[in-house]
């Protein structure tokens, strides 16, 4: 049970194609990196997530052409409170990368990826439903799993497990 410590130094991880591509495009976009348990995480500035994803999808070196998953983690009461997490898969290269955007509780909103991958639709609606994150530019941002007249966002950490009765 030995786990190598996580690498968080941008200089050491420059060789990774996704990091290299994003740094070459705009160094300000990458706000942090982490390589832990053989998984690569790149923290992206929230204003640039859509362009960053479109770049990684179309780049001939990385070809992260498949959006596996979008999800969210609530770090209540810490700030920035929310992390929206994107898992990309490269079908030709058989590689994964994880992109993260941090959002504060005052304005939990980020640009929608629906124009990059149409499949982002349901994932984003689910996060809107269960976490209350707004996705700007989403074509149909309504609750997906909970009833339409439900109050609150159940997967937030300040929402009790047994619900309100």
């Amino acid at each position: 049970m030995t786990i190598a410590p996580a690498i968080t130094d941008v200089e050491q991880l420059k060789g990774h194609p996704a990091v290299a591509r994003l740094l070459a495009w705009n160094p300000a976009v990458v706000t942090g990196v982490k390589f832990d348990r053989d998984e690569m995480t790149i923290y992206i500035d929230r204003a640039n997530i859509r362009e960053a994803c479109a770049l990684l999808r179309d780049d001939a070196e990385c070809v992260f052409n498949f959006l596996s998953d979008i999800t969210c983690v609530d770090w209540y009461p810490a700030e920035p409170r929310f992390e929206v997490i994107y898992h990309l898969l490269s079908i030709p290269k058989k590689e994964r990368v994880r992109l993260k955007v941090r959002l504060d509780s005052a304005s939990p909103a980020v640009e929608s990826l629906c124009s990059v991958w149409a499949g982002a639709n349901y994932f984003e609606r689910e996060i809107f439903d269960l976490f209350g994150i707004r996705f700007t530019g989403h074509p149909y941002l309504r609750r997906l799993l909970m009833p339409e007249d439900w109050e609150g966002h159940p997967l937030r950490k300040d929402y009790p497990v047994e619900g309100y009765r």
């Binding site: 499949g119 349901y122 994932f123 309504r142 609750r143 997906l144 009833p147």
Partner: protein, 401 residues
């Protein structure tokens, strides 16, 4: 559940279309899927799936449980392939812990997973054919499925909610005679697949109902996040078992069936071919099954054997501690994906260093696959919607979680 009040799509002067509500109790929606159809005569103009009727908040429940208590919850997500869900979850936690799993446990996991895949595909084939009107296939498929369920019962005590995998290994040694039973089943299963194919593959009615129906291109399938046979039916050659192997799949030789047409028939052919390939993996697993322990050597994580608990003091203490306070998992996050019968099933687990997961997220293959439904059906005939839904192989328990 967003469409309780559907937005009116009828505009002045456009009185050709009508709204038809299908489900949530419609038998061909495989559970509780509701589909809103805007139809112009027999043609589907627009289609909107409506989900959430089976939402149980499993992701939230997981956050209140110890790591080992989450395993039974994972069965209940996709109730047709419990072992695949168990496997994906335990692999993710083992990656967080950095655990090494003994070879026999890995091979057993592969064996059980492929039996699960056969089981799930048999339910799919039976219900899909029944939706289109071939009632007999259902009875044939459930005959073989019953045998697999009995094997599950023999090995885990449960027919469907197996919870057979544990963090660090397996729950129990397989019972005496289990491997012979599986070998006997695997020996005659290919003939059974021939029987199904005799009923369907060359059948002119089946071909007319499936060929050229609900087409989807590879580009659309990738953009919509489709995976598994839904993606491979459109000509994209990816299978996580072969391309990003886990749990020792690199030791097995099998083909990944891919079809180019992207219609219902192509997805049908992929899955039927997968039945045969899974059976081959089962046979390889039986032939090469290594000897050795079925649990990792990690006393604070893996429950001790019953026998040791009665004779050794530490074993009893570890047992008590694991049951009452769980085990701490080092802080971090992992995303583990496996190839479920429906596609890419992924678990994203965040640990904050305590004994309960901070966040468990399940990437449901069906949720993404369901998004392809409008692409497949719009412009087609209303009767083909049923064929399209069947060809995606949805399980609403997984979609709604």
């Amino acid at each position: 559940m967003a469409h309780l009040t559907p937005t009116p799509v009828l505009e002045p002067g456009q009185d050709r279309t009508m709204i038809l509500n299908m489900g949530p109790q419609h038998p061909s929606t495989h559970g509780v899927l509701r589909v809103l159809l805007e139809i112009d005569g027999e043609t589907v103009v627009r289609i909107m799936p409506d989900i959430g009727f089976l939402h149980t908040g499993i992701e939230k429940t997981c956050e209140a449980k110890f790591y080992q208590q989450v395993v039974p919850l994972t069965d209940r997500i996709d109730y047709l392939c419990p072992m695949t869900n168990n496997l994906c979850y335990v692999l993710a936690v083992e990656k967080l812990l950095g655990l090494e799993i003994p070879a026999k446990a890995q091979w057993m996991r592969v064996l059980m997973n492929e039996l699960t895949r056969i089981n799930s595909h048999l339910v799919w084939l039976g219900t899909h054919a029944m939706d289109i009107g071939a009632l007999t296939v259902f009875l044939y498929c459930f005959r073989e499925r019953e045998e697999i369920l009995k094997m599950f019962e023999a090995i885990s005590g449960q027919r469907m909610m197996t919870s057979y995998f544990r963090i660090g290994g397996l729950a129990l040694e397989p019972p005496l005679g289990f491997f012979e039973r599986v070998r006997e089943f695997a020996g005659r299963f290919p003939e059974k697949v021939d029987e199904y194919e005799n009923l369907l593959t060359g059948n002119p009615i089946w071909m007319m109902r499936t060929k050229g129906v609900a087409r989807m291109t590879a580009e659309d399938a990738i953009a919509l996040g489709a995976s598994g046979p839904t993606l491979r039916g459109s000509g994209v050659d990816i299978d996580l078992r072969r391309d990003m192997p886990y749990s020792g799949y690199e030791n097995f030789k099998f083909k990944v069936p891919v079809a180019q047409e992207g219609d219902v028939f192509a997805r049908y052919m992929c899955r039927v071919a997968e039945l045969r390939e899974s059976n081959k993996i089962v046979q390889q697993a039986l032939d090469g099954m290594p000897e050795g322990p079925i649990k990792a050597n990690a006393p604070g994580v893996v429950l001790p054997d019953r026998e040791k608990m009665k004779t050794q003091m530490e074993a009893l203490i570890y047992h008590f501690k694991i049951i009452t306070e769980g085990f701490a998992v080092p802080a971090g996050e992992v995303y583990q994906a496996v190839e479920s019968p429906r596609g890419e099933m992924g678990y994203y687990i965040v640990s904050d260093g305590t004994a309960k997961p901070y966040r468990v997220h399940m990437r449901a293959a069906c949720l993404a696959n369901l998004q392809t439904l409008p692409k497949m059906c719009e412009g087609g005939l209303i009767a083909d919607v049923v064929a399209a839904i069947g060809s995606i192989d949805i399980v609403l328990g997984e979609i709604d979680r």
